[in-house]
Symmetry: C2
Subunit: 375 residues, 2 copies
């Protein structure tokens, strides 16, 4: 195998692909990147930790076709240190299976592992794919992924619930203390029945990191779900992830429809106020108390032995009597960060009832947070 590539595009492709390599290596090949020539001017780079896989493509000049695998970490380090704008020559010695990487006066010999030991990343089923707007998927991931349980990699709570019909996408995540749900109108292709899956949160976040920065408003993404796996294909990248098995909680039943109390506040003011007040919040419980009265929202926190904090912002409040309610302030900040309107709406039935945080007027997104009981 022998080819040349431009350092900058190759650097980008290696950095992206590397994200799927295994961090704790049981099989050494899982820390490698598979490089294979597709035709006379295109290479494919692949990596997988068996749960999650990435394929990217890069232009190059293929002098002698072939495939090989080499350490993603070493390859990334080498390419990062080669000068921007330069051309890189790769040549794999068929006898020794050593890859020689040449660039200007630099050369590197790096051990390879046989490409036939590299696990196959299942290609997208060209017959059974479905399609929707990429931007809608990215937005739904951003508005839900934060609420998934980060420590639960094999439990359904470590996933994001995904439900697609011909005209709507719904995604939801919960870690038991809070729930985020996003509903969006979409224009799909090939969606003939409702499709549901539980997708590991890490896979969705990696996908958004890869495609988010360059996503254009009319880009579309192709999905396929088969044999416990989901794949996403855009023009730049192909991502595969296993799905999580099990029954996702019936979260719709948890969302209160009739809330007797509503309040509105400016989102940025509330976020700054939470951040200031939280300085004195207990570092273990993160509790901040919100008190609504007379057009004002007061926030308060305290840690015995250290001190107290208090802050007041303007807020509109509709309720029969004043309300004092306490939350883990980190959950509120997570919800506020993804609310898109200038003002935020809060809805609840009382100090111990599940409380909703939403866009001021739009019901597409909601985050339910359970309050904390305080004396």
């Amino acid at each position: 195998m022998k080819f040349t590539v431009q350092r900058d595009v190759f650097h980008q492709a290696v950095s992206s692909t590397q994200r799927a390599t295994a961090t704790r290596v049981i099989q050494p090949i899982l820390s490698n990147i598979l490089i294979e020539s597709l035709d006379s001017n295109r290479l494919q780079l692949s990596a997988t930790d068996l749960d999650f896989g990435i394929e990217t493509w890069v232009q190059g000049q293929i002098i002698e076709p072939g495939k090989t695998t080499l350490s993603a970490k070493k390859l990334a380090e080498i390419v990062a240190k080669l000068p921007s704008g330069s051309e890189i020559l790769f040549e794999i010695d068929s006898e020794s299976q050593v890859a020689r990487i040449e660039c200007g006066a630099s050369s590197f010999d790096i051990r390879t592992l046989p490409p036939d030991e590299f696990p196959v990343i299942k290609p997208l089923d060209q017959e059974n794919y479905i399609e929707l707007e990429l931007k809608a998927l990215i937005r739904a991931v951003n508005q839900t992924a934060f609420a998934a349980a980060s420590y639960e990699t094999n439990n359904v709570l470590g996933g994001v619930y995904f439900k697609l019909t011909a005209e709507s996408l719904e995604m939801a995540a919960t870690d038991g203390s809070r729930l985020a749900r996003c509903q969006e109108k979409v224009t799909t292709e090939n969606v003939n029945e409702e499709i549901a899956a539980i997708i590991p949160v890490k896979a969705l976040q990696e996908f958004v990191k890869l495609v988010g920065p360059s996503a254009k408003s009319d880009d579309r993404v192709r999905l396929a779900i088969q044999e416990g796996q989901i794949s996403f294909r855009t023009s730049d990248v192909y991502v595969v992830s296993r799905l999580l098995d099990g029954q996702y909680p019936q979260y719709q039943q948890l969302i209160p429809n009739d809330n007797s109390i509503t309040a509105f506040a400016n989102k940025m003011s509330l976020m700054s106020s939470l951040e200031r007040t939280s300085v004195m919040a207990n570092e273990r419980t993160n509790v901040v108390k919100l008190s609504f009265e007379n057009g004002n929202l007061s926030l308060a926190a305290n840690t015995p032995e250290i001190g107290d904090s208090k802050d007041t912002i303007e807020a509109t409040f509709h309720g029969a009597e004043p309300l004092s309610i306490a939350f883990n302030y980190k959950f509120l900040l997570d919800a506020l960060r993804v609310i898109e309107s200038d003002d935020v709406r809060m809805e609840t039935n009382g100090a111990l009832a599940p409380t909703l945080f939403k866009d001021k007027e739009n019901n597409n997104f909601l985050c339910l947070v359970m309050p904390v009981q305080v004396k």
Copy 2:
């Protein structure tokens, strides 16, 4: 005690002073900042971990004079989260000894500790100070501190040797594998005899961090050495450090005067080449081999089981026969970083001899690095 301060200048002063607080707290007061009013419009902030102390000053309006101490960490967090451009009111309740911090609609109550428990930071002896250019001191610290032993806090090798005469400053540091020495012409005041001390490297680095960014070319620094301590005073800050006790190595004897081999290379080319080649250097020994021949310098590294690297740059070489010499590449990069000329000069007597790295033409700075024996 009661005063107002501008948030931005106070934030800066708290951040600077906080650097001297104890990180592992045995006495809680050592994690506090002492705030005291000096006159009707000036406050002094102090912190010390007993080995090292910082005092800074900040303008404010003193409504009621006094002093108090409060948690540097909490104070820094609070001030960081208050809006830029705002005014802060401090009031210490003389009964409860709680400090109330008010800013806009925010208020914080924070426990204080009695100021008379705060250790005294010895003031500069106004009779016995010496004075020199601040920039010269900063430069000498930057050119030597990296070579001190970072793990040795009570050994002389964890310090920088400081020697001042009426007309010259010399500083040197060594960790046993390398030595950095800097000599500068200075204009001093009150230096009537040679002054020598071993200053902990952390104190010098903190001092340079505090004063380096704003140091102007004609700024001067006042020093005093008394009772095992050294103090530095600029217009913005006062820093005190204990000195290290003991005999500093006779490093002048280690520096070879007659070197039969000299070589020159472009500093940036050599640094980039070392960084590229080091990708394949053994992660434990960091060895990179340099081979000089025919106007070229070749660099090479290898780790069995992973691979090899090779790079070539232009170099001028004067020696009776070709030279191959190996170093811990990190030591070379540290030395090259502080060399100020475009080209670097290397001088040695052979592959196992102490090797000097210097400015191309200037002998004020040198870094001696011991080579590594390789097969």
